[in-house]
């Protein structure tokens, strides 16, 4: 129960202190560990597992993608790619606010997978899209809502950073579930999450474009003084090359020609070379980009380090066992259980952002869920869609907070929420559709990749397996 108190303290600490989430997580974990040691609940020796776990993070292959995505986002912000893409797509559509909104949404879909992070997308779209929407008479809440939603498209369109990190967390959770149940399933990997997310992401993109178009149609026609920014030939060529490069990158990752980390390295390298060739990445600009890349990567990595510390303390306190017991005791079908767990993740999204949820909540709630629900790919896609929602949920959704800060949004939160509602409804429609039709997460899946369905297990057997799962791992056993 102490662990649950710690989780509540984390939420309160983040909201009330204004301290960096990483500092709150580390502070709460340290306080919990100290309390546990002083009361004799936590043997001090168990905490010695922490340095080893941190070294595991430092040598994690997948996490190498993190600074690469950050670098890509920063380079995209400095290069004229976004501008060329936006002008070209807006030029294809009939003139008016609807075209601008659709072009902005489309730009989010194209930039998202390339820069991988919501924060970088917000910065890019705020600079390129928001001023043009304003020039075409789109009101402030609608502008902010569009930039926020478009910035989260990269979350579900592979190969995004959130997708990679969730893939890694799902791998850990599924390994625990497969080991403890003795199922013969192949453990899910990032590639499976990529493939599973493609159809739902496509569906959400289509719905978002439709909502943007309809929202634009309701707005008054563009002002007479709105700029008519036709792209130059060079911009059209750059836009075509960028889309082609993105499709090649996406296709190569989807087909398994190279890993997501290598795709990120390729993207960063091409943009970097482009910056050097065009002279936009001169000495001072290059130093500024590298400084910013390190600071932004550090923020994400700090969160990971802090969450690793907290989850170790929670595990020592037996919180994972408590949550596992709750999930085991949940009545109803697989659908009901998944819906309840997703609801809990959704609730935590009111105070935690997607990265914090991946690092803190997923390792606790998903392993017991995957013991009861064998379809890991389906669960991963549902969690991904829930995380995307979490970026947009007022008042603390990360994309919303970023947009309000970057655009210096002066309107009310209620107006922004009203502008967001159609997009959120579209998002929840996709979530509900995937929930009700799990095959959407399995489109194009090969027979060999399928997660094996397990025969129903008795409650008694389930409890025994959970007990086995939660026996202390070797690194947590105190030295004799």
């Amino acid at each position: 129960m102490t662990g649950l108190v710690l989780l509540v303290l984390v939420g309160l600490g983040i909201v009330l202190t204004g301290l960096p989430a990483a500092v709150v997580l580390i502070g709460v974990a340290s306080a919990g560990a100290a309390f546990g040691v002083l009361t004799g609940v936590v043997p001090f020796a168990l905490l010695s597992a922490l340095p080893g776990r941190l070294v595991n993070l430092l040598e994690n292959d997948l996490l190498q993608a993190l600074p690469l995505y950050v670098l890509m986002g920063l380079l995209l912000d400095r290069l004229p790619v976004a501008d060329a893409l936006y002008r070209t797509s807006a030029a294809i559509l009939p003139r008016g606010p609807a075209a601008q909104l659709v072009a902005g949404m489309g730009l989010g879909a194209l930039l998202g997978p390339m820069n991988g992070s919501v924060g970088a997308s917000v910065l890019g779209l705020s600079k390129v899209v928001a001023p043009r929407l304003a020039a075409h008479g789109v009101n402030e809440p609608a502008r902010a809502a569009l930039v926020a939603v478009a910035s989260t498209l990269g979350v579900v369109i592979p190969p995004s950073l959130v997708l990679i990190l969730l893939g890694d967390a799902m791998l850990g959770a599924h390994t625990i579930a497969v080991t403890s149940t003795g199922r013969q399933d192949r453990v899910i990997n990032t590639q499976d999450v990529f493939h599973g997310a493609l159809a739902p992401a496509g569906l959400f993109l289509v719905l978002s474009l439709l909502v943007a178009w309809l929202a634009g149609r309701r707005l008054p026609a563009s002002r007479a003084d709105a700029p008519d920014e036709r792209p130059s030939l060079g911009q059209v060529v750059l836009a075509i090359l960028s889309v082609a490069f993105l499709l090649v990158l996406l296709g190569a990752v989807a087909l398994g020609y190279f890993y997501a980390v290598e795709a990120a390295a390729l993207g960063a390298f091409v943009l970097f070379a482009g910056g050097l060739v065009t002279g936009r990445l001169t000495g001072a600009a290059l130093r500024a980009v590298l400084t910013q890349a390190m600071a932004t990567s550090g923020a994400l990595f700090a969160l990971l380090i802090a969450a690793t510390t907290l989850t170790l303390v929670l595990r020592i306190l037996g919180t994972d066992k408590l949550v596992a017991d709750w999930v085991t005791a949940l009545p109803g079908s697989e659908l009901t259980i998944v819906a309840i767990v997703l609801g809990a993740i959704g609730l935590s999204a009111f105070v935690l952002d997607a990265f914090e949820i991946i690092f803190v909540i997923v390792p606790i709630v998903i392993p017991p869920l995957l013991i009861r629900v064998a379809d890991a790919r389906w669960v991963a896609v549902l969690v991904l869609l829930t995380l995307q929602t979490s970026f947009l949920l007022p008042p603390f959704g990360y994309a919303l907070m970023m947009v309000r800060g970057t655009l210096r949004y002066a309107g009310s939160l209620a107006a922004l929420t009203r502008a967001l509602v159609p997009f959120l409804l579209a998002q929840w429609l996709v979530l509900a559709t995937v929930l009700l039709f799990p095959q959407l997460a399995h489109l194009g899946e090969k027979e060999s990749d399928r997660t094996r369905a397990t025969p129903p297990v008795s409650a008694q057997e389930l409890n025994r397996r959970l007990e086995d799962m939660l026996t202390p791992i070797p690194e947590l056993v105190p030295p004799q």
């Binding site: 204004g18 430092l58 390295a265 590298l290």
Partner: protein, 163 residues
């Protein structure tokens, strides 16, 4: 005297981070090279991966403190922005004093069992026997050491100065 010491520490940390930011370029290059080395040349892919791995470890070990200095850590200040500047500074100091500093000290002391033997043996990568694995473990001390130094700087910095 104290101010000069803190100023010196501040410049030292800034210099370390200023040098460390360049590590990202070889990390990008090495990770990119992995693909052609593995699929076209069928050689040295693992070596590129090992080298990239320890450069990455050093890079992210420094990045935590870089984020602290640049104020890029993720934070929700919708409520805290209403506090006075003095209260916010006090909360920030408490965060360092009760959260980051004891944690970093624990990592330095608790990590000694991992770092020192690895350093003494100049531990190599287990799968390839390539040199440099000890650098990854040493990066743990770099991570915690920089957090401690930055914490000391932030705590000792005179009130009202930029931080």
């Amino acid at each position: 005297m104290m101010a000069r010491l803190i100023g010196g520490l501040d410049r030292f940390v800034a210099a370390v981070l200023s040098g460390g930011r360049w590590l990202l370029l070889p990390v990008v290059t090495l990770l990119l090279l992995q693909w052609p080395l593995r699929d076209i040349f069928r050689a040295w892919s693992r070596d590129a991966n090992d080298l990239g791995q320890w450069l990455f470890a050093l890079y992210v070990a420094m990045a935590f403190t870089a984020a602290t200095r640049a104020h890029t850590h993720l934070a929700a200040d919708a409520v805290a922005r209403r506090y006075t500047e003095q209260s916010r500074r006090l909360i920030a100091r408490l965060g360092v004093l009760l959260g980051l500093a004891p944690w970093a000290l624990f990592v330095v002391i608790g990590g000694a069992k991992l770092v020192i033997p690895s350093l003494r043996a100049l531990e190599t990568f287990p799968d390839t026997n390539n040199p440099g694995y000890f650098v990854i473990k040493l990066a743990l001390w770099l991570l915690a050491g920089l957090i401690l130094l930055q914490g000391a700087i932030d705590l000792a910095r005179p009130r009202g100065s930029a931080g």
